[in-house]
């Protein structure tokens, strides 16, 4: 039984669990250094205002103030995407939202820095503010940014795959709906923090709670004009990210600059309010969806329009825009598809990637619309999905390659576990069930800056005592990437976990990994780790074979031992074999890398959407709606997730439960809302999230097809399971009380309003009335992929 896995697939504790439960783990704000200064940031007071003058004299005079910087000290623009180089750390010319960083003070302690901030005198010239997509389309005034597709329209996209007109003509039933998905934020429990230290030798080191040290490295080197070799970024253990710590952020740039000026370590720890301004969270998206189906429920055509309220900066927004259109065809067969999307700059904190990045919003619309269609044509919500699941090893109409897919099994299992068919439309008034499905990436197939290099590399060194040092730029944000790295290498080499020493997320020491986003780490780092470990294993097995005078094929490695499969007494310890290999080959070290296969389609914009594999989820929500108060109680969630092989089922279930939790928060209460041009609720008390009292029971079912390209067959678990939750809840509310809430969050007052409309005999629905009459450019017409689902009879 040599091919039986020892560690992979087992519910092991995380390798860094003890540090976290004892308080030993050092997060960024836990660091302190001799002579360390504390810095605070001044945020713009207006949503949109030219900065005419910043007077720092009064602040400078405060005892204990060491340095003050403004936008004038940081003239160079950077940005995460090459097409969105629009940030400087501190805004120089104008502030673009209330809270936009415009100056920073370093002082001997936090309190002094805070007092100094209040002594900075800023002279503004107010400019018209654009607080919504509608403002952007109707209001006059100076654009927020000086680039973009037109005025405050940052980006426009229009793509058509196949002929949607014939697709709709072939349909027996066509419906159009509009939806709105409110913006919300990551709300990591750890407020972002950074310590920067510029030492006498001209080297800048940053300890930061970031998900992407490599991108911080690139941005800082550019913004501060320092050679990359003189910048070192160390990602400290991240106290929750969910996408909010994937951009290089202003406080990182400001702390670095202040340290360069003072030659002393500088810490910036954001307050909770400032975390709301750092944001980069879920885009509010207004959507219009049109879908045509035949009598049997098969889709003939689909057309989506999305309007993204982007906030003041680009961030990942161009990618977010494409993502609102990319993954609709990845779950069910769609033979013709059209997508038009636009992102507007608005005077609010920048939106960016949050768990699911741009895909939960259209998924919300699509899965509700399918529910409505199923009812209209008289088939069950299960059948309209189950019968038309995409095939394994196929392509979508928009040229996305699908490898493994167990969505059908997910639907079957979740329907069976929840008793969906016995409950749907059969429960008493007030109770209901809803079904929704989704798919997500296992890593973006293309890098965010164009290059031909690997997306990740893992380096392994083996010492004479049998210790295995593993180095990778990957960053553990709580998802367990450190553990996956250790399990993978230990499994391949046949050593125990205590032989593994990890060094991660340190740009001086570790090979590049692009970062913890797009659910890429297990898939990509895992494959690189297998490659690196396999190279060393070969040398060690050969050396052992020579010593034991056996062919390599006769040997196996397990439990720190290399032994003869037929006679386990003929063996060497792993350390002995490593020594023999070192004697033979010199010091033992190897690198492994992972580069996704070339997956982009033959059209502009095809870079967003491809992934080496897609995960699938199916979810049933059961709700109890009180028709008197409108209050919604989610009684239970069943979720089946096709994650490929679960490297550690305990961690996968943890990711799934966490995703369900976050999806429920978005469905029921979370909103990044603005009033009078200001953030309405920049506090944990007012920004509602689920407590332990609110969280329903979650039954997770893991479905584990072995993905042909994933490490040990694994795909992803961190993001996909969030996606089906909001539409499942919306569909359940409809089943319970017969009203459609086509916008998030689904709150008691909206339910009551819809119930009142129902009582008046009006359409029992709360949601957007329509979308702006915006003229998108002529779509780029793309022939569907030849292996994509065909429009029958066309």
């Amino acid at each position: 039984m040599t091919d039986e896995l020892t560690l992979i697939g087992k519910p092991l504790p995380k390798v860094d669990a003890l540090g976290k439960v004892t308080g030993e783990t050092k997060y960024a704000d836990d660091l302190a250094m001799p002579r360390m200064l504390h810095a605070k940031i001044l945020g713009c007071h207006y949503p949109h205002a030219r900065i005419k003058h910043i007077g720092t004299a009064r602040a400078q005079a405060l005892p204990g103030v060491v340095a003050i910087i403004t936008g004038a000290d940081l003239p160079v623009k950077y940005g995460n995407l090459p097409v969105s180089q629009d940030e400087t750390g501190l805004a120089g010319d104008k502030g673009r939202f209330v809270g936009d960083p415009i100056a920073a003070v370093a002082a001997v302690d936090e309190e002094t820095a805070e007092r100094a901030i209040d002594l900075i005198d800023v002279e503004y010239e107010e400019l018209p503010a654009f607080m919504s997509v509608e403002d952007v389309l109707t209001k006059e005034g100076e654009p927020i940014q000086d680039y973009g597709d037109q005025g405050n329209v940052h980006k426009m996209v229009a793509l058509e795959f196949g002929d949607t007109e014939s697709g709709f003509a072939a349909a027996d039933y066509v419906r159009e709906d509009t939806f709105f998905y409110q913006g919300n934020t990551h709300l990591p429990m750890e407020e972002h923090a950074v310590v920067a230290h510029y030492t006498a030798d001209g080297k800048l080191t940053l300890w930061s709670s970031t998900q992407c040290p490599h991108y911080v490295h690139r941005a800082l080197s550019k913004a501060l004009a320092i050679a990359p070799s003189r910048v070192r970024i160390i990602a400290t253990p991240v106290g929750g990210g969910f996408g909010g710590k994937s951009d290089p952020l202003p406080h990182e740039v400001a702390a670095a600059k202040l340290s360069m000026i003072t030659g002393r370590p500088v810490k910036i720890a954001l307050t909770r309010e400032e975390v709301f301004y750092a944001h980069r969270g879920r885009h509010p998206v207004l959507m219009w969806a049109k879908t045509g189906v035949r009598k049997d429920g098969s889709i003939t055509a689909m057309h989506f329009k999305t309007f993204l309220d982007g906030g003041a900066y680009g961030s990942y927004g161009v990618a977010s825009t494409y993502y609102t259109g990319a993954l609709q065809p990845v779950t069910y067969k769609v033979p013709t598809y059209k997508f038009e999307g636009m992102r507007a700059f608005t005077n609010k904190p920048a939106c960016g990637p949050k768990r699911g990045h741009g895909t939960p919003q259209p998924r919300f619309g699509m899965e509700i619309q399918l529910d409505k269609i199923a009812e209209a044509i008289g088939i069950s919500p299960v059948d309209i999905r189950r019968k038309f699941v995409v095939d394994e090893n196929s392509y979508t109409v928009n040229h996305l390659r699908i490898t493994s897919c167990a969505l059908g099994e997910c639907i079957d299992k979740v329907a069976a576990a929840s008793g969906f068919n016995d409950k749907h439309r059969k429960l008493p008034f007030g109770k209901g069930v809803g079904l929704a499905c989704s798919s997500y990436l296992s890593g973006a197939g293309l890098p965010i800056y164009w290059n031909n290099m690997p997306h990740t590399s893992v380096q392994i060194k083996i010492d004479r005592g049998g210790g295995v040092a593993v180095l990778c730029g990957s960053t553990d944000i709580g998802q367990g990437s450190n553990s996956v790295l250790a399990y993978t290498v230990a499994e391949v080499l046949g050593v125990s976990l205590d032989a593994i020493q990890l060094t991660v997320s340190d740009t001086d020491l570790t090979p590049i990994d692009l970062g913890s986003y797009s659910s890429r780490v297990t898939f990509m780092m895992g494959n690189a780790a297998i490659e690196a470990a396999s190279k060393l294993k070969k040398l060690i097995m050969e050396a052992a074979a020579e010593k034991l005078q056996l062919p390599v094929e006769a040997l196996a490695a397990k439990n720190n031992s290399i032994y003869c499969i037929d006679d386990e007494r003929r063996s060497l310890t792993f350390a002995q074999a490593a020594q023999l290999a070192e004697a033979k080959h010199g010091g033992l070290g190897a690198m492994g890398s992972y580069t996704p296969p070339k997956l982009a389609g033959p059209f502009r914009g095809s870079g967003v959407g491809p992934s080496p594999a897609y995960s699938y989820s199916a979810c049933v929500a059961q709700v109890d709606v009180d028709p008197e108060t409108g209050e919604i109680k989610v009684e239970k969630i069943w979720i089946a997730h096709d994650c490929g092989r679960a490297i550690n089922p305990l961690l996968v279930i943890g990711q799934t439960e966490g995703s369900v939790y976050m999806g429920l928060g978005e469905a029921l209460m979370e909103e990044q809302d603005f009033r009078r041009n200001q953030h309405k609720i920049p506090s944990l008390l007012d920004y509602k999230s689920l407590t332990m009292m609110d969280m329903p029971e979650v039954e997770t079912i893991l479905v584990e097809p072995i993905d042909p390209e994933g490490p040990f067959g694994a795909k992803e678990a961190g993001q996909g399971p969030l996606l089906p939750v909001p539409p499942a809840v919306a569909n359940a509310v409809y089943d319970a009380v017969g009203v459609r809430i086509d916008e998030l969050p689904i709150t008691a007052d909206k339910v009551l309003k819809a119930l009142a409309l129902k009582a008046e005999g009006k359409e029992p629905r709360v949601g957007p009335k329509g979308v702006p009459s915006f003229v998108f450019p002529e779509p780029v017409r793309v022939e569907p992929h030849p292996q994509a689902p065909k429009l029958r009879g066309a």
Partner: protein
């Protein structure tokens, strides 16, 4: 204005000369180097900063050290005994109830207060006792299971 305060933390006596308005959270983290206690708001809204004062869960971000001189303060660093983790710590580690781990010190402390008071709490009592501790990672299920496991083992 600064003043000398005497605190008894995890069974040890500490002295610190600190501004009077500095919170217990700040004194623990900045003056006593006990950084295990975390903060998510410093406004009494998240529970990350929970410590025990004479066995009662207390938000250290809202507590002035001067008010609790001489009382027994317990932080996450004091949970293990001679290097042996508390059953709650073991259970949290085993079940992966700590994902990012940032809410964990506060959760553990609130859970300890609960178990000291009620060694075999019902699920709803656990929910009630920990409802002031926010967690963004776990969806809470594994935390509840870990508290139950620790209770079973005690």
């Amino acid at each position: 204005m600064k003043q000398l305060i005497k605190l008894r933390v995890n069974g040890e006596d500490y002295e610190a000369y600190v501004p009077v308005h500095k919170t217990l959270l700040e004194v623990l983290r900045e003056d006593l180097n006990l950084t295990g206690t975390k903060h998510g708001c410093e406004l009494g809204e998240c529970g990350a900063c929970t410590v025990l004062v004479d066995g009662e869960p207390t938000l250290s971000c809202l507590t002035l050290p001067i008010e609790i001189q001489g009382r027994e303060i317990l932080t996450v660093e004091g949970l293990a005994h001679n290097g042996t983790p508390h059953p709650l710590q073991t259970a949290f580690a085993e079940l992966s109830a700590a994902q990012c781990g940032y809410c964990t010190p506060g959760m553990l402390i609130s859970a300890k207060a609960l178990l000291d008071h009620d060694p075999h709490p019902a699920r709803d009592d656990i929910r009630q006792a920990l409802s002031g501790n926010l967690c963004r990672c776990t969806g809470y299920s594994k935390i509840i299971e870990a508290v139950e496991l620790a209770a079973e083992r005690r």
